[in-house]
């Protein structure tokens, strides 16, 4: 749709840092889920927020070249790849035997990254898109999408095994909600902040706030399956309040001026 001006300019934040945050934070959160019934799901949800921030940075790097289809489309595509990869990876972990359940989350992310890479290669080779970072950016984006789905699913189910996630996330239909909610959380920050004056630090502040508000909703979804739902929800809501204030403050600081429009002037004042 709109042309995201900026033309892939230098980012204020090193892409390696956000990738490290997403990968390390995401996997750490997911793998620490079983340690404690209260802290575990909380860590999984925080891991998903890290993955969302990584995804927002990746989408900003890809979409700043102007996709011609709008920022949301690549967001939807990446979450679609993430959901397919997550389901197949979790089921594939079961195939290898119970000893390999540990590998299932890694397999999910790897499958999503591979599928994302294939889709981006098709976009580049068959369709002929001219975005230099399309393949690496889409691979990062789909990896982040799979991690965010896995993290929130583990937070709801209280475990990262296929049977637990199948029962409390897939059968209940929450997977559809996670699909759209994570799409919004990942694509909204750059979609809202794009333009010639885009400041990546500000975009990531918004990404943290969308991630945390999703986390507080995930807490509510976990009501039926976890005793720690209110911890996730309240911490998510508090963190959302703080990060959204940070974003609002950053927007005000960088604006030329902030003026409230007020009400329509009365007739006689004309």
């Amino acid at each position: 749709m709109s042309v995201a001006a900026g033309g892939g300019g230098e980012s204020a934040i090193d892409p390696k840092k956000t990738a490290a945050l997403g990968i390390i934070g995401g996997f750490l959160g997911i793998y620490l889920t079983p340690i404690n019934p209260t802290i575990g799901p909380l860590l999984a949800a925080l891991g998903a927020v890290c993955a969302i921030m990584w995804g927002s940075d990746a989408i900003a790097r890809v979409a700043s070249y102007g996709l011609g289809t709008g920022v949301p489309s690549i967001g939807y595509m990446s979450l679609a790849v993430g959901v397919v990869g997550t389901l197949a990876g979790l089921a594939g972990g079961v195939m290898m035997g119970s000893a390999y359940v540990m590998l299932a989350p890694v397999l999910s992310v790897v499958l999503a990254v591979i599928l994302g890479g294939v889709v981006a290669l098709i976009g580049k080779k068959v369709i002929g898109m001219k975005i230099p970072v399309l393949v690496t950016g889409t691979m990062e984006l789909t990896g982040a999408a799979a991690l965010s789905i896995l993290g929130f699913s583990a937070a709801i189910a209280g475990s990262y095994t296929m049977s637990a996630i199948l029962q409390s996330v897939v059968v209940t239909g929450f997977i559809g909600l996670l699909f759209i909610m994570n799409t919004m959380a990942i694509q909204h920050p750059f979609n809202a902040c794009l333009g010639p004056q885009e400041n990546r630090v500000r975009t990531l502040k918004l990404a943290a706030s969308t991630g945390f508000i999703s986390m507080s909703i995930v807490g509510l979804l976990a009501m039926g399956s976890s005793s720690a739902w209110w911890v996730i929800s309240i911490i998510g809501a508090l963190a959302w309040f703080i990060t959204f204030r940070m974003f609002l403050q950053a927007s005000k600081d960088e604006a030329a001026s902030v003026a409230w429009s007020g009400l329509w002037p009365k007739e006689e004042e004309h």
Partner: protein, 241 residues
């Protein structure tokens, strides 16, 4: 079901979805301010609406013969896209105050009405004229059939596994239906975004010059769907626990 048959069905479904998207009147941001023909939103959003409705109607027919599932998915998608276009047209006609007209053709290929006179200067048309509406309905038909086919293939494959077996024989397995639905929705989004990359964001329908790009889009969707189908086989092979 044989995994190869499932991959084949998913590939055909992906082609149907990708082809169907080329028929949709996607107007994008210019259409949102009534300066281009079509529905004023992106492909992903139009596909989301019609795909989800099509999948719900297809899933409602779970356990029926294949043709009934395909027909049900197609009708659901066509209804949703039809309602979207009609309500959009109300907004363009009664809200914005423009005449539905396309600048891409001189006369509407279906009604033969003159278009040029009604296109506001400086715009590429506005609203959803008859040809775009018919084209969108065809797109819904193809997309809905594709979604239904993918859902059917994954569901029928999963339901034979012990882990997904229905609790009562003859009933539907909710777990298999949900996994199949999520998978089909994922396939729908992947293919609709690839198709939308191919059309470069906006298209009016089958009368648009961009429609000639459809062979490239179909090849791209076929390749992507085969890879998605290969990954989907893991669902069957690992479904036993």
């Amino acid at each position: 079901m044989d995994p190869l048959l499932m991959i084949g069905s998913i590939a055909v479904a992906g082609v149907l979805i990708g082809g169907g998207v080329h028929f949709l009147p996607v107007g994008g941001a210019p259409a949102a301010i009534a300066t281009a023909t079509g529905v004023g939103t992106g492909t992903a959003m139009l596909a989301a609406g019609s795909a989800m409705t099509g999948l719900i109607t297809a899933a409602a027919m779970t356990g029926s013969p294949l043709w009934l599932i395909l027909a049900s998915g197609a009708v659901g998608s066509m209804l949703m896209i039809g309602v979207t276009m009609m309500v959009g047209n109300w907004v363009y006609v009664f809200g914005v105050g423009t005449v539905p007209a396309s600048a891409k053709v001189e006369t509407d290929p279906i009604t033969k009405y003159n278009q040029e006179k009604y296109v506001s200067p400086g715009t590429e048309g506005h609203g959803i004229p008859t040809v775009c509406f018919i084209s969108g309905i065809i797109g819904g038909l193809l997309g809905g059939m594709g979604g239904g086919l993918a859902y059917w293939a994954v569901y029928e494959s999963l339901v034979t596994l012990p882990a997904y077996a229905p609790l009562l024989s003859g009933n539907t397995s909710v777990a298999a239906a949900m996994v199949a639905g999520s998978f089909a929705l994922g396939l729908f989004f992947i293919n609709s975004v690839i198709a939308s990359y191919n059309i470069g964001g906006t298209i009016e329908g089958f009368h648009d010059p961009k429609f000639k790009r459809i062979p490239k889009g179909i090849v791209a969707c076929l390749l992507a769907s085969i890879v998605t189908g290969l990954i989907g086989v893991l669902l069957l092979k690992g479904g036993v626990f």
